[in-house]
């Protein structure tokens, strides 16, 4: 896959804000469908937030690498981290609650990611989590 841009972050909350300007710069000049860049930001924030909040023991700062690739008809974001094994696709799905008292905050993340992109894949390889998000450029 042709690499467009890559950036290395730490899991420190103060560092995570760099994801937005990185994606803005990486996608600059591309003829994207209306709303796609926002959907990419939403999916990327959820994915990176998951890693930062659940991937590392307290006091341990992890490494997160983001890569944007361009393939025919799609943009692909790869998110690699050295946190504990975590497959967001296999995580418990959102349980619909009739009222706020029963709702769990975290169960909606994958729903949000799936709603924003065309395909989500997870792989654990070489002691790293690899999450791949594919966004169709042709779709509106």
């Amino acid at each position: 896959m042709p690499l467009v841009s890559a950036v290395a972050l730490t899991s420190d909350l103060a560092d995570l804000g760099r994801v937005y300007p990185w994606l803005e710069d990486a996608a600059a000049g591309k003829d994207l469908p209306e709303g796609l860049l926002t959907r990419m930001h939403v999916a990327l924030e959820e994915a990176v937030a998951n890693v930062a909040m659940h991937g590392f023991d307290p006091g341990r700062t992890g490494q997160i690498t983001l890569r944007l690739h361009e393939i025919p008809g799609a943009l692909v974001i790869e998110i690699d981290d050295n946190g504990v094994p975590f497959d967001p696709i296999a995580a418990p799905k959102r349980v619909d609650a009739d009222n706020l008292a029963d709702v769990r905050i975290g169960g909606r993340g994958l729903t949000l990611i799936r709603g924003c992109c065309e395909d989500v894949r997870y792989e654990r390889r070489d002691a790293m989590n690899h999450l791949t998000l594919r966004f169709a450029v042709g779709a509106v």
Binding site: L13, T38, E45, L100, V103, G115
Partner: protein, 112 residues
């Protein structure tokens, strides 16, 4: 980023604005917790919000959960299309009522 107004009838109006991203969510977290712990009828005006995602939605849900646990009411008002899409996609609109008109939002937030 956040403006909290105490209106007549015990109604609290929270006006959020700009990007509720990682930094934005951190900025509104403490004020939203303060509203959640002290108010029972809350309208959260999203009409000036340009971006919201999981971190911001978590704060909205936590606020609504806290107020709901004290038998209070929280509603959302006037989200722009991109923001409304995220709220719908995440299912947050199934938990917190969303209104386009301020009068409808206020009626829903304040017990008759």
């Amino acid at each position: 980023m956040i403006d909290v107004q105490e209106l007549e009838g015990g109604l609290t109006k929270v006006i959020l604005s700009g990007r509720i991203d990682f930094a934005g969510a951190q900025a509104i977290d403490a004020p939203m917790k303060a509203v959640a712990s002290s108010s029972k009828s809350v309208v959260i005006d999203l009409s000036a919000v340009d971006f919201i995602a999981s971190m911001g939605l978590r704060i909205l849900i936590m606020c609504a959960k806290t107020i709901h646990s004290r038998s209070g009411r929280v509603v959302l008002l006037g989200a722009k299309k991109g923001v409304a899409d995220v709220i719908h996609m995440s299912g947050v609109d199934e938990l917190i009522p969303v209104f386009d008109a301020e009068a409808d939002a206020i009626s829903a937030a304040v017990p008759a």
